[in-house]
Protein backbone atom coordinates (compact mmCIF):
# COMPACT_ATOMS: atom_id res chain seq x y z
CA UNK A 1 0.00 0.00 0.00
CA UNK A 2 1.19 3.48 -0.81
CA UNK A 3 2.04 5.63 2.20
CA UNK A 4 3.27 8.61 0.24
CA UNK A 5 2.20 9.15 -3.33
CA UNK A 6 3.14 12.25 -5.28
CA UNK A 7 2.84 13.11 -8.95
CA UNK A 8 4.04 16.15 -10.83
CA UNK A 9 5.39 17.95 -7.75
CA UNK A 10 6.81 21.27 -8.84
CA UNK A 11 8.56 23.88 -6.71
CA UNK A 12 10.23 27.08 -7.81
CA UNK A 13 11.15 30.39 -6.23
CA UNK A 14 12.57 33.68 -7.35
CA UNK A 15 16.03 34.88 -6.30
CA UNK A 16 18.14 37.67 -7.77
CA UNK A 17 15.45 38.24 -10.36
CA UNK A 18 15.84 34.69 -11.66
CA UNK A 19 13.42 31.83 -11.33
CA UNK A 20 15.05 28.89 -9.54
CA UNK A 21 13.40 25.60 -10.34
CA UNK A 22 14.05 23.22 -7.47
CA UNK A 23 11.59 20.41 -8.22
CA UNK A 24 10.56 19.77 -11.81
CA UNK A 25 7.39 17.67 -11.99
CA UNK A 26 8.70 15.00 -9.69
CA UNK A 27 6.88 11.68 -9.13
CA UNK A 28 7.46 9.55 -6.04
CA UNK A 29 5.79 6.55 -4.39
CA UNK A 30 6.81 5.30 -0.96
CA UNK A 31 5.24 2.10 0.47
CA UNK A 32 3.86 1.59 3.96
CA UNK A 33 6.51 0.29 6.37
CA UNK A 34 9.30 1.03 3.95
CA UNK A 35 12.72 2.41 4.89
CA UNK A 36 13.23 4.91 2.10
CA UNK A 37 16.48 6.81 1.65
CA UNK A 38 16.37 9.93 -0.48
CA UNK A 39 19.87 10.42 -1.85
CA UNK A 40 21.21 13.44 -3.67
CA UNK A 41 24.05 15.96 -3.84
CA UNK A 42 23.93 19.40 -2.15
CA UNK A 43 21.22 21.42 -3.87
CA UNK A 44 19.46 18.49 -5.55
CA UNK A 45 16.13 19.46 -3.99
CA UNK A 46 15.85 16.59 -1.53
CA UNK A 47 15.10 18.77 1.53
CA UNK A 48 12.56 20.76 -0.43
CA UNK A 49 10.82 17.57 -1.51
CA UNK A 50 10.29 16.12 1.94
CA UNK A 51 9.09 19.43 3.38
CA UNK A 52 6.06 18.92 1.15
CA UNK A 53 5.26 15.61 2.86
CA UNK A 54 4.16 17.32 6.08
CA UNK A 55 2.97 20.48 4.34
CA UNK A 56 5.74 22.72 5.68
CA UNK A 57 5.93 23.88 2.08
CA UNK A 58 2.65 24.33 0.21
CA UNK A 59 2.22 22.39 -2.99
CA UNK A 60 2.66 24.74 -5.96
CA UNK A 61 1.67 22.21 -8.57
CA UNK A 62 0.99 18.50 -8.65
CA UNK A 63 -0.75 16.04 -6.36
CA UNK A 64 0.41 14.56 -3.08
CA UNK A 65 -1.31 12.11 -0.73
CA UNK A 66 0.35 11.19 2.55
CA UNK A 67 -1.16 8.45 4.73
CA UNK A 68 -4.43 8.91 2.90
CA UNK A 69 -4.50 12.66 3.60
CA UNK A 70 -4.43 15.16 0.76
CA UNK A 71 -1.37 17.30 1.49
CA UNK A 72 -2.70 20.15 -0.62
CA UNK A 73 -5.79 20.58 1.51
CA UNK A 74 -5.07 23.18 4.16
CA UNK A 75 -7.82 21.92 6.47
CA UNK A 76 -6.11 18.60 7.22
CA UNK A 77 -2.71 20.09 7.82
CA UNK A 78 -2.55 19.37 11.57
CA UNK A 79 -3.81 15.83 11.21
CA UNK A 80 -1.12 15.35 8.56
CA UNK A 81 1.68 16.64 10.78
CA UNK A 82 0.57 14.32 13.55
CA UNK A 83 0.94 11.18 11.42
CA UNK A 84 4.04 12.47 9.65
CA UNK A 85 6.77 13.63 12.07
CA UNK A 86 10.04 15.26 11.10
CA UNK A 87 13.51 15.69 12.60
CA UNK A 88 15.76 18.43 11.22
CA UNK A 89 19.43 18.82 10.44
CA UNK A 90 20.60 21.29 13.08
CA UNK A 91 20.22 19.77 16.55
CA UNK A 92 20.44 23.20 18.19
CA UNK A 93 17.53 24.76 16.36
CA UNK A 94 14.68 22.46 17.33
CA UNK A 95 14.45 22.62 21.11
CA UNK A 96 11.78 24.66 22.87
CA UNK A 97 12.72 23.87 26.44
CA UNK A 98 15.95 23.61 28.39
CA UNK A 99 14.67 20.42 30.02
CA UNK A 100 14.62 17.24 27.90
CA UNK A 101 11.37 15.92 29.36
CA UNK A 102 9.50 19.16 28.69
CA UNK A 103 10.80 19.31 25.15
CA UNK A 104 9.67 15.79 24.32
CA UNK A 105 6.22 16.67 25.71
CA UNK A 106 5.90 19.72 23.45
CA UNK A 107 4.22 17.91 20.54
CA UNK A 108 1.86 16.05 22.86
CA UNK A 109 0.73 19.33 24.41
CA UNK A 110 0.19 20.84 20.99
CA UNK A 111 -2.27 18.05 20.21
CA UNK A 112 -3.96 18.48 23.59
CA UNK A 113 -3.13 14.99 24.79
CA UNK A 114 -4.57 14.72 28.30
CA UNK A 115 -2.05 15.77 30.92
CA UNK A 116 -2.13 12.45 32.80
CA UNK A 117 -1.03 10.48 29.70
CA UNK A 118 1.94 12.71 28.94
CA UNK A 119 4.60 11.44 31.39
CA UNK A 120 4.11 7.84 30.24
CA UNK A 121 4.37 8.66 26.58
CA UNK A 122 7.43 10.83 27.13
CA UNK A 123 9.16 8.03 29.00
CA UNK A 124 8.26 5.50 26.32
CA UNK A 125 9.58 7.76 23.55
CA UNK A 126 12.86 8.38 25.37
CA UNK A 127 13.25 4.63 25.93
CA UNK A 128 12.83 4.00 22.19
CA UNK A 129 15.87 6.13 21.41
CA UNK A 130 17.89 4.93 24.39
CA UNK A 131 17.76 8.25 26.23
CA UNK A 132 15.94 7.23 29.39
CA UNK A 133 17.63 8.73 32.41
CA UNK A 134 18.17 12.06 30.67
CA UNK A 135 14.69 13.42 31.46
CA UNK A 136 15.94 16.28 33.60
CA UNK A 137 19.03 17.22 31.63
CA UNK A 138 19.36 20.31 29.49
CA UNK A 139 19.59 19.57 25.75
CA UNK A 140 22.39 22.14 25.67
CA UNK A 141 24.58 19.85 27.78
CA UNK A 142 24.17 16.80 25.52
CA UNK A 143 26.35 15.63 22.63
CA UNK A 144 25.16 16.12 19.05
CA UNK A 145 24.05 12.51 18.71
CA UNK A 146 22.13 12.65 21.98
CA UNK A 147 20.43 15.89 20.96
CA UNK A 148 19.21 14.33 17.72
CA UNK A 149 17.92 11.28 19.60
CA UNK A 150 15.97 13.54 21.95
CA UNK A 151 14.57 15.38 18.95
CA UNK A 152 13.57 12.00 17.51
CA UNK A 153 11.88 11.12 20.80
CA UNK A 154 9.90 14.37 20.58
CA UNK A 155 8.54 13.17 17.24
CA UNK A 156 7.95 9.57 18.36
CA UNK A 157 5.95 10.66 21.41
CA UNK A 158 3.13 11.51 19.01
CA UNK A 159 3.23 7.96 17.61
CA UNK A 160 3.34 8.99 13.96
CA UNK A 161 3.09 6.49 11.07
CA UNK A 162 5.85 8.21 9.12
CA UNK A 163 9.12 9.64 10.39
CA UNK A 164 11.05 11.98 8.11
CA UNK A 165 14.72 12.59 8.84
CA UNK A 166 16.11 15.63 7.05
CA UNK A 167 19.91 15.13 6.98
CA UNK A 168 19.88 14.43 10.70
CA UNK A 169 23.45 13.12 10.71
CA UNK A 170 25.05 15.86 8.60
CA UNK A 171 26.27 17.91 11.57
CA UNK A 172 27.35 15.01 13.79
CA UNK A 173 30.70 13.34 14.48
CA UNK A 174 31.10 9.65 13.49
CA UNK A 175 30.06 8.40 16.92
CA UNK A 176 26.94 10.59 16.94
CA UNK A 177 26.08 9.37 13.47
CA UNK A 178 26.30 5.75 14.58
CA UNK A 179 24.04 6.40 17.59
CA UNK A 180 21.37 8.10 15.53
CA UNK A 181 21.46 5.54 12.71
CA UNK A 182 21.12 2.75 15.26
CA UNK A 183 18.01 4.42 16.73
CA UNK A 184 16.54 4.91 13.28
CA UNK A 185 17.16 1.29 12.35
CA UNK A 186 15.43 0.09 15.51
CA UNK A 187 12.54 2.40 14.85
CA UNK A 188 12.00 0.85 11.45
CA UNK A 189 12.54 -2.76 12.45
CA UNK A 190 10.80 -2.87 15.82
CA UNK A 191 8.21 -0.13 15.56
CA UNK A 192 7.47 -0.79 11.87
CA UNK A 193 7.41 2.91 11.06
CA UNK A 194 7.67 4.17 7.54
CA UNK A 195 11.01 6.00 7.54
CA UNK A 196 12.07 8.58 4.97
CA UNK A 197 15.72 9.50 5.49
CA UNK A 198 17.49 12.17 3.48
CA UNK A 199 21.23 12.01 3.19
CA UNK A 200 24.20 12.60 0.96
CA UNK A 201 26.29 10.00 2.79
CA UNK A 202 26.22 7.14 0.35
CA UNK A 203 27.11 4.63 3.09
CA UNK A 204 23.87 5.45 4.91
CA UNK A 205 21.85 4.49 1.84
CA UNK A 206 22.94 0.86 2.24
CA UNK A 207 20.49 0.55 5.17
CA UNK A 208 17.47 1.33 3.00
CA UNK A 209 14.77 -0.92 1.60
CA UNK A 210 14.67 1.38 -1.37
CA UNK A 211 16.83 4.27 -2.50
CA UNK A 212 15.38 7.29 -4.29
CA UNK A 213 18.09 9.09 -6.22
CA UNK A 214 17.43 12.78 -6.76
CA UNK A 215 19.24 15.03 -9.19
CA UNK A 216 18.28 18.25 -10.93
CA UNK A 217 14.90 18.32 -9.26
CA UNK A 218 13.67 15.01 -10.62
CA UNK A 219 13.79 11.42 -9.51
CA UNK A 220 16.75 9.99 -11.45
CA UNK A 221 16.15 6.44 -10.33
CA UNK A 222 14.68 4.36 -7.57
CA UNK A 223 15.37 0.82 -6.52
CA UNK A 224 17.09 -1.39 -3.96
CA UNK A 225 20.43 -0.14 -2.65
CA UNK A 226 22.07 -2.84 -4.76
CA UNK A 227 20.42 -1.58 -7.93
CA UNK A 228 21.25 2.07 -7.33
CA UNK A 229 24.58 2.06 -5.53
CA UNK A 230 26.29 -0.35 -7.90
CA UNK A 231 25.72 1.90 -10.91
CA UNK A 232 28.61 4.38 -11.05
CA UNK A 233 27.31 6.20 -14.15
CA UNK A 234 23.95 6.80 -12.55
CA UNK A 235 25.52 8.10 -9.32
CA UNK A 236 27.98 10.26 -11.20
CA UNK A 237 25.14 11.92 -13.08
CA UNK A 238 23.62 12.82 -9.69
CA UNK A 239 26.94 14.22 -8.44
CA UNK A 240 27.71 11.32 -6.12
CA UNK A 241 30.39 8.64 -5.96
CA UNK A 242 29.70 4.94 -5.31
CA UNK A 243 30.61 3.29 -1.99
CA UNK A 244 34.23 2.18 -1.73
CA UNK A 245 33.57 -1.59 -2.16
CA UNK A 246 31.74 -0.86 -5.43
CA UNK A 247 34.66 1.25 -6.66
CA UNK A 248 37.06 -1.56 -5.84
CA UNK A 249 34.89 -4.05 -7.74
CA UNK A 250 35.01 -1.99 -10.92
CA UNK A 251 38.70 -1.11 -10.60
CA UNK A 252 39.56 -4.80 -10.17
CA UNK A 253 37.27 -5.67 -13.07
CA UNK A 254 39.27 -3.33 -15.30
CA UNK A 255 42.42 -5.36 -14.63
CA UNK A 256 40.68 -8.62 -15.34
CA UNK A 257 39.89 -9.69 -11.80
CA UNK A 258 36.21 -10.58 -11.47
CA UNK A 259 34.35 -10.92 -8.21
CA UNK A 260 31.16 -13.02 -8.28
CA UNK A 261 28.89 -10.17 -7.32
CA UNK A 262 29.21 -6.46 -6.66
CA UNK A 263 29.81 -5.94 -2.93
CA UNK A 264 27.96 -3.10 -1.18
CA UNK A 265 29.52 -3.19 2.26
CA UNK A 266 33.04 -3.78 3.53
CA UNK A 267 31.93 -7.13 4.92
CA UNK A 268 30.60 -8.27 1.55
CA UNK A 269 33.80 -7.16 -0.16
CA UNK A 270 35.94 -9.16 2.24
CA UNK A 271 33.65 -12.16 1.73
CA UNK A 272 33.99 -11.94 -2.04
CA UNK A 273 37.76 -11.54 -1.89
CA UNK A 274 38.09 -14.53 0.42
CA UNK A 275 36.04 -16.69 -1.92
CA UNK A 276 38.36 -15.81 -4.76
CA UNK A 277 41.25 -17.22 -2.83
Amino acid sequence: MCMISGTGIRFAYEADGRLKRVLRDLDIQIQRGEFAVVLGANGSGKSTLVKHFNALLPLQKGELTVAGINAAGRSDIWRLRRVCGMVFQNPDNQFVSSVVEEDVAFGLENYEVPREQIPDRVRKALRLVGMEGYENRSPHSLSGGQKQRVALAGVLALEPDIVILDEVTAMLDPQGRQEVLESVRRLHEQEKKTVVMITHYIEEAVLADRVFLLGDGVLQACGTPREILTDPQLLDKAGLTPPLPVKIYYDLYKTGIRLDRIPLTNEELVEELCQLN
Partner: protein, 283 residues
Protein backbone atom coordinates in the same frame (compact mmCIF):
# COMPACT_ATOMS: atom_id res chain seq x y z
CA UNK B 1 56.26 29.63 8.89
CA UNK B 2 56.78 27.41 11.89
CA UNK B 3 54.54 27.15 14.94
CA UNK B 4 55.76 26.20 18.37
CA UNK B 5 53.62 25.66 21.43
CA UNK B 6 55.65 25.26 24.58
CA UNK B 7 54.20 24.05 27.90
CA UNK B 8 50.78 25.53 27.23
CA UNK B 9 48.14 25.49 29.89
CA UNK B 10 44.69 26.76 29.14
CA UNK B 11 41.27 26.65 30.71
CA UNK B 12 38.06 28.48 30.25
CA UNK B 13 35.37 29.52 32.72
CA UNK B 14 32.77 26.80 32.72
CA UNK B 15 29.57 28.71 33.41
CA UNK B 16 27.78 26.95 36.23
CA UNK B 17 30.57 24.47 36.75
CA UNK B 18 34.14 24.88 37.82
CA UNK B 19 36.43 26.13 35.08
CA UNK B 20 37.36 23.43 32.58
CA UNK B 21 41.02 22.68 31.97
CA UNK B 22 41.67 22.05 28.30
CA UNK B 23 45.45 21.95 28.28
CA UNK B 24 47.99 21.34 30.99
CA UNK B 25 51.64 21.48 29.91
CA UNK B 26 50.89 20.88 26.24
CA UNK B 27 53.65 21.17 23.64
CA UNK B 28 53.57 20.87 19.87
CA UNK B 29 55.99 21.84 17.13
CA UNK B 30 54.95 22.34 13.53
CA UNK B 31 57.61 23.03 10.91
CA UNK B 32 57.25 25.37 7.97
CA UNK B 33 55.37 23.83 5.04
CA UNK B 34 53.92 20.82 6.84
CA UNK B 35 50.54 19.31 5.92
CA UNK B 36 48.91 18.26 9.16
CA UNK B 37 45.70 16.54 10.15
CA UNK B 38 44.29 16.62 13.64
CA UNK B 39 41.78 14.04 14.87
CA UNK B 40 40.09 13.64 18.20
CA UNK B 41 36.80 12.94 19.88
CA UNK B 42 34.49 15.97 20.29
CA UNK B 43 35.70 18.01 23.25
CA UNK B 44 39.34 16.87 23.09
CA UNK B 45 40.59 20.43 22.63
CA UNK B 46 41.10 20.56 18.84
CA UNK B 47 39.21 23.80 18.32
CA UNK B 48 40.88 25.40 21.34
CA UNK B 49 44.24 24.39 19.90
CA UNK B 50 43.49 26.14 16.59
CA UNK B 51 42.36 29.26 18.42
CA UNK B 52 45.55 29.31 20.49
CA UNK B 53 47.68 29.03 17.35
CA UNK B 54 45.71 31.82 15.67
CA UNK B 55 46.16 34.05 18.72
CA UNK B 56 42.40 34.28 19.29
CA UNK B 57 42.72 33.15 22.86
CA UNK B 58 45.71 33.49 25.14
CA UNK B 59 47.06 30.59 27.19
CA UNK B 60 47.21 30.99 30.96
CA UNK B 61 50.73 29.56 30.90
CA UNK B 62 53.38 28.72 28.32
CA UNK B 63 54.13 30.36 25.00
CA UNK B 64 52.94 30.26 21.40
CA UNK B 65 55.69 31.08 18.92
CA UNK B 66 54.93 31.82 15.29
CA UNK B 67 58.14 32.00 13.29
CA UNK B 68 60.01 32.17 16.59
CA UNK B 69 58.10 35.14 17.94
CA UNK B 70 55.90 34.99 21.04
CA UNK B 71 52.51 36.20 19.80
CA UNK B 72 51.16 36.89 23.27
CA UNK B 73 54.07 39.08 24.37
CA UNK B 74 53.32 42.74 25.00
CA UNK B 75 54.40 44.80 22.02
CA UNK B 76 53.96 42.04 19.44
CA UNK B 77 52.38 43.45 16.30
CA UNK B 78 49.12 41.54 15.89
CA UNK B 79 48.62 42.65 12.31
CA UNK B 80 51.60 40.46 11.32
CA UNK B 81 49.82 37.53 12.95
CA UNK B 82 46.56 38.26 11.09
CA UNK B 83 48.41 38.35 7.79
CA UNK B 84 50.38 35.16 8.38
CA UNK B 85 47.74 32.93 10.00
CA UNK B 86 44.40 32.24 8.31
CA UNK B 87 41.72 30.22 10.02
CA UNK B 88 38.55 28.83 8.49
CA UNK B 89 36.06 27.99 11.20
CA UNK B 90 33.42 25.30 11.01
CA UNK B 91 30.50 26.63 8.93
CA UNK B 92 32.46 29.70 7.73
CA UNK B 93 29.44 30.71 5.63
CA UNK B 94 27.94 32.27 8.76
CA UNK B 95 30.55 35.03 8.87
CA UNK B 96 29.63 36.63 5.53
CA UNK B 97 28.25 40.12 6.04
CA UNK B 98 29.06 42.47 3.16
CA UNK B 99 26.61 43.52 0.45
CA UNK B 100 28.60 41.97 -2.39
CA UNK B 101 30.85 38.95 -2.75
CA UNK B 102 33.75 41.15 -3.89
CA UNK B 103 33.60 43.34 -0.78
CA UNK B 104 33.37 40.36 1.52
CA UNK B 105 36.38 38.61 0.04
CA UNK B 106 38.35 41.88 0.21
CA UNK B 107 37.49 42.47 3.89
CA UNK B 108 40.68 40.89 5.22
CA UNK B 109 42.80 43.13 2.98
CA UNK B 110 41.48 46.38 4.43
CA UNK B 111 44.52 47.14 6.55
CA UNK B 112 47.02 45.37 4.32
CA UNK B 113 48.35 48.52 2.67
CA UNK B 114 47.80 47.02 -0.78
CA UNK B 115 46.73 49.26 -3.62
CA UNK B 116 43.26 49.01 -5.12
CA UNK B 117 44.52 47.15 -8.14
CA UNK B 118 46.45 44.72 -5.95
CA UNK B 119 43.41 44.07 -3.78
CA UNK B 120 41.33 43.40 -6.88
CA UNK B 121 43.97 41.03 -8.18
CA UNK B 122 43.95 39.10 -4.90
CA UNK B 123 40.17 38.87 -4.91
CA UNK B 124 40.17 37.54 -8.47
CA UNK B 125 42.89 35.06 -7.57
CA UNK B 126 41.04 33.76 -4.49
CA UNK B 127 37.63 33.52 -6.17
CA UNK B 128 39.11 31.74 -9.20
CA UNK B 129 40.89 29.31 -6.92
CA UNK B 130 37.55 28.52 -5.28
CA UNK B 131 36.04 27.76 -8.68
CA UNK B 132 34.13 30.99 -9.33
CA UNK B 133 34.09 33.28 -12.31
CA UNK B 134 34.99 36.68 -10.83
CA UNK B 135 32.90 38.65 -13.31
CA UNK B 136 29.78 36.56 -12.73
CA UNK B 137 29.85 36.60 -8.97
CA UNK B 138 31.52 39.82 -7.81
CA UNK B 139 28.38 41.96 -7.52
CA UNK B 140 26.09 39.27 -6.16
CA UNK B 141 24.92 39.40 -2.57
CA UNK B 142 26.45 36.58 -0.50
CA UNK B 143 23.01 35.99 1.01
CA UNK B 144 21.48 34.83 -2.26
CA UNK B 145 24.09 32.12 -2.87
CA UNK B 146 23.52 28.44 -2.16
CA UNK B 147 25.01 26.90 0.98
CA UNK B 148 27.98 25.38 -0.84
CA UNK B 149 28.71 28.60 -2.73
CA UNK B 150 28.60 30.63 0.50
CA UNK B 151 31.16 28.35 2.06
CA UNK B 152 33.48 28.70 -0.93
CA UNK B 153 33.16 32.51 -0.85
CA UNK B 154 33.98 32.52 2.87
CA UNK B 155 37.07 30.39 2.27
CA UNK B 156 38.11 32.73 -0.58
CA UNK B 157 37.97 35.59 1.95
CA UNK B 158 40.57 33.84 4.08
CA UNK B 159 42.73 32.81 1.11
CA UNK B 160 42.82 36.36 -0.29
CA UNK B 161 45.12 37.41 2.56
CA UNK B 162 47.60 34.74 1.36
CA UNK B 163 48.46 33.53 4.85
CA UNK B 164 51.56 31.38 5.33
CA UNK B 165 49.67 29.16 7.73
CA UNK B 166 46.13 27.97 6.96
CA UNK B 167 43.93 26.18 9.46
CA UNK B 168 40.59 24.53 8.78
CA UNK B 169 38.13 23.38 11.44
CA UNK B 170 35.95 20.57 10.03
CA UNK B 171 36.04 21.99 6.50
CA UNK B 172 34.28 19.07 4.80
CA UNK B 173 31.45 18.41 7.24
CA UNK B 174 28.20 18.56 5.28
CA UNK B 175 29.86 18.63 1.84
CA UNK B 176 28.86 16.10 -0.81
CA UNK B 177 31.58 13.87 -2.37
CA UNK B 178 32.42 16.14 -5.30
CA UNK B 179 32.83 19.25 -3.14
CA UNK B 180 34.82 17.16 -0.65
CA UNK B 181 37.28 16.07 -3.35
CA UNK B 182 37.55 19.62 -4.69
CA UNK B 183 38.38 20.96 -1.25
CA UNK B 184 41.05 18.36 -0.55
CA UNK B 185 42.69 19.06 -3.90
CA UNK B 186 42.77 22.76 -3.10
CA UNK B 187 44.38 22.16 0.30
CA UNK B 188 47.03 19.93 -1.27
CA UNK B 189 47.72 22.51 -3.97
CA UNK B 190 48.19 25.31 -1.43
CA UNK B 191 50.51 23.09 0.58
CA UNK B 192 52.61 22.32 -2.51
CA UNK B 193 53.00 26.07 -3.00
CA UNK B 194 54.52 26.34 0.46
CA UNK B 195 51.59 27.04 2.77
CA UNK B 196 51.55 25.23 6.10
CA UNK B 197 48.12 23.55 6.16
CA UNK B 198 46.38 22.20 9.26
CA UNK B 199 43.06 20.37 8.93
CA UNK B 200 40.92 19.32 11.88
CA UNK B 201 38.50 16.61 10.82
CA UNK B 202 36.59 13.51 11.89
CA UNK B 203 36.86 12.12 8.39
CA UNK B 204 39.59 9.46 8.54
CA UNK B 205 39.32 8.71 4.80
CA UNK B 206 39.89 12.33 3.84
CA UNK B 207 42.85 12.72 6.20
CA UNK B 208 44.43 9.47 5.03
CA UNK B 209 44.29 10.63 1.41
CA UNK B 210 45.72 14.09 2.03
CA UNK B 211 47.89 14.90 5.05
CA UNK B 212 51.52 13.97 5.71
CA UNK B 213 51.41 14.09 9.48
CA UNK B 214 48.50 13.07 11.67
CA UNK B 215 48.06 14.13 15.27
CA UNK B 216 45.51 12.35 17.46
CA UNK B 217 44.35 14.18 20.55
CA UNK B 218 42.50 13.01 23.63
CA UNK B 219 41.51 15.14 26.59
CA UNK B 220 44.06 17.86 25.92
CA UNK B 221 46.99 15.57 25.18
CA UNK B 222 48.66 14.34 22.03
CA UNK B 223 48.24 10.58 22.12
CA UNK B 224 49.54 9.77 18.64
CA UNK B 225 51.68 11.76 16.26
CA UNK B 226 53.21 10.49 13.04
CA UNK B 227 52.50 9.65 9.43
CA UNK B 228 48.87 8.64 8.79
CA UNK B 229 50.19 5.17 7.97
CA UNK B 230 51.78 4.78 11.38
CA UNK B 231 48.82 6.23 13.26
CA UNK B 232 46.21 4.07 11.51
CA UNK B 233 48.43 1.03 12.01
CA UNK B 234 46.81 0.66 15.44
CA UNK B 235 43.05 0.31 14.82
CA UNK B 236 42.42 -1.02 18.33
CA UNK B 237 43.86 2.10 19.93
CA UNK B 238 41.83 4.28 17.55
CA UNK B 239 38.69 2.39 18.51
CA UNK B 240 39.43 3.02 22.18
CA UNK B 241 39.60 6.73 21.41
CA UNK B 242 36.16 6.52 19.72
CA UNK B 243 37.79 7.27 16.38
CA UNK B 244 37.81 5.23 13.24
CA UNK B 245 40.59 4.38 10.83
CA UNK B 246 40.28 4.97 7.09
CA UNK B 247 38.00 2.56 5.20
CA UNK B 248 40.86 0.98 3.17
CA UNK B 249 42.70 0.36 6.43
CA UNK B 250 39.59 -1.24 7.97
CA UNK B 251 39.12 -3.51 4.94
CA UNK B 252 42.80 -4.51 4.98
CA UNK B 253 42.40 -5.42 8.65
CA UNK B 254 39.37 -7.57 7.99
CA UNK B 255 41.26 -9.37 5.24
CA UNK B 256 44.26 -9.93 7.48
CA UNK B 257 41.99 -11.43 10.14
CA UNK B 258 40.67 -13.88 7.53
CA UNK B 259 44.21 -15.04 6.94
CA UNK B 260 44.86 -13.23 3.71
CA UNK B 261 48.43 -11.89 3.66
CA UNK B 262 48.30 -8.13 3.21
CA UNK B 263 50.72 -5.30 3.92
CA UNK B 264 50.09 -3.86 7.39
CA UNK B 265 50.43 -0.18 6.51
CA UNK B 266 47.71 0.28 3.88
CA UNK B 267 45.56 3.35 4.48
CA UNK B 268 44.71 4.83 1.07
CA UNK B 269 42.42 3.62 -1.68
CA UNK B 270 45.15 3.29 -4.30
CA UNK B 271 47.36 1.36 -1.89
CA UNK B 272 44.59 -1.11 -1.15
CA UNK B 273 43.76 -1.55 -4.81
CA UNK B 274 47.39 -2.14 -5.74
CA UNK B 275 47.83 -4.66 -2.94
CA UNK B 276 44.68 -6.54 -3.95
CA UNK B 277 45.79 -6.69 -7.56
CA UNK B 278 49.24 -8.05 -6.70
CA UNK B 279 47.72 -10.46 -4.24
CA UNK B 280 45.03 -11.78 -6.57
CA UNK B 281 47.25 -11.89 -9.65
CA UNK B 282 49.81 -13.93 -7.72
CA UNK B 283 47.33 -16.73 -7.35
Amino acid sequence: MSIELNHISCSYPGGAQESVTVFDDFSLHIADGEFIGIMGHTGCGKTTLLQLMAGLIAPSGGEVLINGEDINKAGYDRSILRRSVGIVFQYPEYQLFETTVEKDVAFGLKHSGLSRAEVRERVIWALTLMGFSYENIRTRSPLTLSGGEKRRVAIAGVLAVKPDILMFDEPIAGLDPQNRTAFLELAAQLNRQGTTVIIVSHNADALAESVCRLIVMDRGRTVMDGTPNSVFADPVRMQELHLGVSTPRAIADMLAKRGIPIAPDIIRYEELLLELRMNLKAR
